[in-house]
């Protein structure tokens, strides 16, 4: 079932007929390889710029937020309020010695951080930042998201395995167990939104929320799905309270114990961009993506809300979820391994299934709010 989009909504209406960079490259292909390749190159540059920009911003933000949660100021020295601290740290990491431990599996050890970062970049490709800022918009978007986010742990597993260090190996195996478990719950939560919107395409999922975000519209099913999604994806990106793969009190630094320099930076960057991705997908699936906040019947209010460009709306929503995840990190203690497994297999998974079933009933009988037609 798909929703006809009311043409009164300008932001949504402008989305019809927009072309992503991938589709532009594909349609330019008959005209000549060069033009097509230029679009692909533009996409690559955009993704890398996004990666670097968001990475720098998020790492700075994390340190500031961490500081303020602990009655500190955070970085204050490099630039006004320390805004260039991450730049300085990046330069430091880049010039550090690139080290491969003795009797480590050299090829895998070098390859692992790139695999981790590759998964992150592949996910950035599909993120709908705004109606026009999306590199590729495929019709199986949700499947792509779940598949690739599971692929990210490959780099962690390889890194831990190839380091020839028992702490690294234990950390990597924990990460593997964690993602195998929590991927299911995250997918179950996303399936609820897929049921409501009736499509797997991310741009259409965003469009389907023109009349109201899925988290409001679904009689609590959306809330439960959001809570399950945020818990499960916090576990997937190995952040506190689920940071047992790198639990420093037990495993030194877990899977990246033996990494230094630029390859450590890649792991680090992937971790932070993954946080942005989780927040972005939470915004896309539950908070209407780049859609402005509209209240039905208040035309003036809605017009004011439309003043903000879609990318700013997306940034606000994703930023709010990022802050939520950081808030988790600086509030909750770390779970033990068995507690984490119990939470997933005995609580989140059954609740997720029941929630999916309830969502199916809600959709079947069209019980959701703002159904309109």
């Amino acid at each position: 079932m798909s929703f006809p989009i009311p043409m009164t909504n300008l932001a949504a209406a402008s989305h019809f007929g927009i072309k992503t960079l991938a589709s532009r490259a594909a349609s330019a292909l008959p005209g000549g390889l060069l033009e097509s390749a230029l679009y692909v190159l533009l996409a690559v540059v955009w993704i890398v710029a996004l990666l670097a920009g968001i990475g720098l911003a998020l790492i700075y933000l994390e340190r500031k937020v961490a500081g303020h949660f602990q009655c500190r100021l955070g970085p204050m020295r490099v630039g006004p309020h320390g805004i260039f601290q991450t730049v300085a740290d990046t330069i430091k990491l880049l010039v550090k010695e690139d080290f491969v431990p003795d009797r480590a599996d050299r090829v895998l050890h070098v390859l692992a951080p790139f695999l981790s970062l590759t998964a992150t970049m592949l996910l950035l490709v599909i993120m709908p930042l705004s109606p026009i800022l999306q590199v590729a918009d495929m019709n199986i978007g949700v499947i792509y998201v779940t598949a690739i986010s599971g692929f990210g742990v490959m780099g962690i597993l390889l890194g831990g395995w190839s380091s020839n260090n028992k702490w690294s190996l234990i950390g990597a195996m924990r990460a593997g167990a964690q993602i195998v478990s929590y991927e299911i719950s995250a997918t179950l939560a996303l399936l609820v939104v897929v049921l409501f919107s009736g499509t797997l395409q991310l741009s259409r999922i965003v469009e389907s929320q023109a009349e109201g975000w899925w988290i409001w519209r679904a009689h609590g099913v959306g809330w439960v799905a959001f809570i399950i999604y945020i818990i499960a994806s916090t576990a997937e990106i190995n952040r506190t309270p689920f940071d047992i793969p790198e639990a420093e009190s037990e495993l030194t630094a877990g899977f990246h114990t033996e990494y230094s320099g630029i390859r450590f930076a890649f792991f680090f960057l992937a971790e932070f961009i993954n946080m942005f991705l989780v927040a972005g997908f939470a915004a896309t699936f539950f908070f209407g993506g780049w859609m402005p906040f509209h209240v039905g019947g208040l035309a003036g209010f809605n017009a004011v809300m439309d003043l903000l460009p879609p990318v700013a709306w997306f940034g606000l929503k994703a930023g709010a979820v990022v802050f939520l995840i950081m808030w988790f990190r600086w509030t909750f203690p770390r779970l033990r391994v068995d507690q984490m497994m119990r939470l997933e297999w005995k609580i989140l998974l059954p609740v997720g299934f029941v929630n999916l079933f309830a969502a199916a009933i809600v959709v079947l009988y069209r019980l959701y709010f703002f159904a309109g037609r």
Binding site: V65, G67, H68, F69, Q70, C71, R72, L73, M76, I227, W327, F328, W330, T331, F332, I347, V351
Partner: protein, 226 residues
């Protein structure tokens, strides 16, 4: 909640070490119901988040001080221990009677006291109070052991130097009697002879654990290159 409440617990007896001793029977651990466990968990998580959020929202709670910038207004706490000082009274006279309690109390031999017979008083008077800042751990034992309250720890912490040997101090400003002994001398002319000024420490500072010039090496004083 999950805590053990001794009031409602069953009391039993156990035969321990030849006598019957009343013991509390620990209750069997009750696992909560599935849904109530979830809601309790969520509620306690939200309670925790409500505790931490105000710290972000109220920057006035920040305790960090921007040190070099706030140097003019910086005030250290009274209990902050950064440097050892002799206490002087209003006339600038120290209170040290050379009882050497601090020297004995110092766990790593950072205090070395030199005494001499006073020419006027004929009593033991402080000549040099040598304090090795480089090996002091600021444990405060010397201050708390001093029977005459002649020592104190102060908060001035800016003592960085480029040579470790500069971290040995003479704490006394003059070689001479303490305040009470000073008062016993009534002749004005003789009083002028009581004190001789003492420069900040100028003697050699052995780094390799040798005894300092004119001062006996004590057990516990640092050995080897510090």
């Amino acid at each position: 909640m999950a805590f053990f409440d001794p009031k409602g617990a069953r009391v039993g007896e156990m035969f321990i070490a030849g006598q019957n001793i009343p013991v509390l029977a620990a209750p069997r651990l009750q696992r909560r119901g599935f849904l109530s466990g979830i809601f309790d968990g969520l509620r306690s998580l939200l309670a925790g988040m409500a505790v931490t959020l105000p710290y972000v929202l109220h920057p006035s709670r920040i305790v960090t001080r921007q040190y070099p910038e706030n140097r003019a207004t910086l005030k250290m706490y009274d209990r902050y221990r950064a440097v050892l000082r002799l206490i002087y009274d209003e006339q600038g006279r120290h209170l040290c009677t050379v009882c050497r309690s601090c020297e004995k109390a110092c766990p790593n031999g950072s205090i070395m006291i030199e005494a001499s017979k006073g020419a006027v008083t004929g009593k033991n008077e402080l000549k040099n109070f040598v304090w090795r800042f480089d090996s002091c751990t600021f444990c405060n034992l010397c201050v708390s052991t001093c029977p005459f309250d002649a020592l104190e720890m102060k908060g001035d912490f800016e003592h960085a130097v480029f040579d470790r040997r500069l971290l040995v101090y003479n704490l006394n400003r003059y070689a001479g009697p303490h305040a009470a002994l000073w008062d016993k001398v009534e002749d004005e002319e003789q009083r002028k002879l009581l004190a001789t000024p003492v420069a900040p420490y100028e003697g050699p500072v052995p780094l390799a654990g040798a005894s300092m010039q004119g001062l006996p090496r004590r057990a516990g004083s640092p050995k080897g290159d510090l």
